[in-house]
């Protein structure tokens, strides 16, 4: 339904940008994104965010006086199409730097082309670890990799909570199992003992049998990997049984969205969860971006939006520092990046088997007074964390 309209807009954009490109006071970026297909929802969020960033940059004078023009290229979420787009951008459009794409598989395809043609490529959202583990010189990544997704929660546990035992409850799906395995490894690194690891069928009605078993083990930490409705039921029943762990932590998105609090109500209080970004985090520009996005599109952007929005600012920063707009000079400038963005600090490092990878502490949210607040890392916290948390019996 929306496709013809979109194609029309795209054509218009291309025609328009060609018109402007002739004027030579513009800089044109082709951005591959999945704008149709199953990942189109995320492609759309990113596209809108790039546009907001471009408008802001142009309003404040562009990049070195040149107006930014964005051309979105639909990859349909297919790696082979992303690859073709990347080749076109490098060979035909002679674009000296690439950025964009949503999924890991597409980012990987572009990374291979970029390395081969020696053109720097900034990965914005693809999270698979191996993209930046292949000794690529020209591939940079600003988002944390999948295994660093919970790095913030990890340091919060290590420095503040110091749990000795953990009970893991997870959904019996691929997603739940992966999350639980990750926590088992984490527990080993932190010296925690896993006293219980139990899966459940998504959509279960009654968790009390399993929870009474958890209660008998008296774990310091209860870690749960669940989608939102199961998450709410779990916390409600934990409250009913008055299970007093030192901390309740949610491993995945189910705990980080407002519906969790709506459904679990006061049982959600003090639950912590890892996330990459949140609209109220204290990074400069984060709140402004989130509000601008919401006033235009009705709701807050996901972290993908913040990544895309910030990516354009990283590109701007790099191009302003590069001595010439050639791939080699841009690569040099990229390597020296040290920028604070709405998504968080960006700095490309070679360590722990990664190359040109941005290592940032991911965020930890805690439900405080019925609202998600950023509590970790401390310097970006919107509120001081609540720990130790009160026992159920003493609440209210």
């Amino acid at each position: 339904m929306k496709r013809p309209v979109f194609v029309l807009m795209l054509c218009l954009l291309i025609v328009l940008s060609y018109g402007l490109a002739i004027a030579d006071d513009t800089v044109v970026f082709g951005i591959p994104l999945p704008l149709t297909g199953s990942k189109a929802k995320f492609g759309e969020i990113e596209k809108r965010s790039y546009q907001i960033a471009a408008e802001e940059i142009n309003a404040s004078g562009g990049i070195k006086g040149k107006k930014v023009v964005l051309e979105f290229e639909d990859s349909q979420g297919k790696p082979e199409i992303s690859r073709a787009i990347a080749e076109k951008l490098i060979d035909v459009k002679k674009q000296p730097v690439l950025f964009g794409e949503y999924s890991s598989s597409c980012s990987k395809a572009i990374a291979a082309v970029a390395e081969e043609r020696k053109v720097p490529y900034l990965v914005v959202t693809g999270a698979a670890d191996n993209i930046t583990q292949q000794n690529y010189r020209y591939v940079f990544r600003m988002n944390p990799t999948a295994s660093y997704y919970t790095s913030g929660l990890r340091s919060f546990l290590r420095e503040v909570v110091k749990p000795k035992t953990v009970a893991i409850i997870y959904e019996s799906s691929d997603f739940g199992t992966k999350g639980a395995e990750g926590m088992v490894k984490e527990a080993k690194r932190l010296g925690m003992k896993v006293v219980l690891k139990e899966k459940y069928e998504a959509g279960a009605v009654d968790f009390k049998p399993i929870l009474s078993k958890v209660k008998a083990k008296r774990p310091d930490l209860i870690y749960m990997v669940s989608y939102v409705m199961d998450a709410a039921l779990l916390m409600r029943q934990i409250k009913e049984l008055r299970i007093d762990a030192k901390l309740f932590a949610g491993g995945a998105a189910g705990f980080a969205i407002p519906e969790f609090i709506e459904n679990a109500k006061d049982a959600a209080e003090y639950v912590v969860t890892a996330t990459l970004w949140s609209p109220q985090v204290a990074y400069p520009g984060a709140k402004e971006f989130a509000e601008k996005y919401r006033s235009r599109y009705g709701k807050y952007p996901s972290y993908h939006g913040a990544e895309a929005y910030s990516a354009l600012y990283v590109i701007k920063d790099v191009l302003e520092r590069a001595s010439a707009w050639t791939p080699e000079e841009i690569r040099k400038a990229m390597k020296e990046t040290n920028l604070m963005t709405a998504f968080g600090p960006v700095k490309f490092e070679d360590r722990e088997g990664y190359q040109n990878q941005n290592f940032m502490d991911t965020l930890v949210l805690q439900v405080i007074n019925g609202k998600h607040e950023t509590i970790w890392p401390l310097k970006y916290a919107s509120k001081k964390y609540v720990f130790p948390i009160p026992r159920w019996r003493d609440r209210r």
Partner: protein, 309 residues
């Protein structure tokens, strides 16, 4: 005995009985329909879903507590069930078909239509009625200060359970003490004999389907404060009702009550002592075991011991 182990066991047992009471109510409706109509109503869970949407909208738009909604939703579902029987199932019963059980297939179709209609009308979003008492509970240690163990009784679970018990008792009274109830039982025992005795069998069928729908409708209202709601939720509960109906002995009300509680306790015990991932497996083991070792269900055991069925 280790008090911690006792606590885990008792808490599991409580959870199982509370869950079982609600399961019984879901199973009762299906078993009633099974007894009188001789068909398995495979749209049973979807009827519950419809009732839950009614309760949800009553709560969201008019702020009517789900427990009060029982008194609105159950009668509404009664008429909804009668309409399904009158306009959809009866015409199919009259038609000669190649498939012997085409009415059962019809109920599958009704179920699909209901859940897809719900998806179109209400989207597939999860919904719930966040009532204030959702996670309140009574504690043993509050009543008995020096109790060595701590047990909790969730407020909504206990209230739902009590409602289920009262509804079951009313149904019991209706079936054994009223003329209409006796006519329904007569129809279930022997349709032809009932017809000869002057029972209006067609009317009884209509009443039974309505009654079955309103029972599961009440169950839906009792479930929504504990759980949540989405259009595809029906299948899960149809399956549970089906297992209970088989376990209880097709058509037996007492069997369904015992079967429901047994299934609830069994599920809770598997969750605690085997792992929660095993609960669905346990459900099927009960199902198969009942078919193989107890073809007549619990009802046949009761009959053998002259306890009535």
């Amino acid at each position: 005995m280790d008090p911690v182990k006792v606590e885990v066991f008792l808490q599991t047992l409580i959870a199982g009985i509370l869950l079982g009471g609600l399961y019984a109510l879901i199973g009762l409706g299906m078993t009633l329909i099974m007894g009188v109509m001789r068909i398995i109503n495979l749209a049973h869970g979807e009827l519950m879903m419809v009732a839950m949407y009614m309760a949800y909208w009553l709560f969201t738009l008019l702020h009517i507590d789900p427990y009060l909604a029982v008194f609105i939703v159950a009668p509404a579902m009664f008429f909804f069930g009668m309409a399904i029987q009158r306009f959809l199932i009866n015409p199919v019963l009259r038609v000669e078909a190649i498939l012997p059980e085409n009415q059962v297939i019809l109920t599958v179709g009704i179920g699909m239509v209901l859940s897809n209609l719900a998806t179109i009308m209400f989207t597939s979003d999860y919904r719930s009625t966040p009532v204030e008492y959702a996670s309140d509970a009574w504690y043993l240690s509050d009543l008995w200060r020096s109790s060595p163990i701590e047990l909790s009784f969730s407020v909504p679970w206990v209230v739902s359970f009590l409602f289920a018990v009262v509804i079951t008792a009313l149904l019991w009274y209706f079936l054994t003490r009223t003329d209409t109830g006796k006519s329904i039982r007569a129809t279930a025992q022997d349709r032809d004999a009932a017809l000869l005795m002057g029972v209006n069998v067609e009317r009884m069928k209509l009443l039974t389907f309505g009654l079955g729908a309103s029972l599961v409708g009440a169950a839906g209202c009792l479930f929504i404060p504990l759980y949540y709601l989405y259009p595809a939720l029906g299948g899960r509960f149809t399956l549970i009702a089906f297992v209970i109906t088989i376990l209880g002995g097709l058509g037996s009300t007492v069997g369904a009550i015992i079967g429901g509680v047994l299934l609830g306790v069994f599920e809770s015990m598997t969750a605690t002592y085997l792992g929660m991932g095993w609960a669905p497996v346990g459900r099927f083991i009960i199902f198969v075991a009942a078919l193989v070792f107890l073809p007549g269900g619990i009802a046949s055991v009761l009959r053998r011991r002259r306890l009535g069925g």
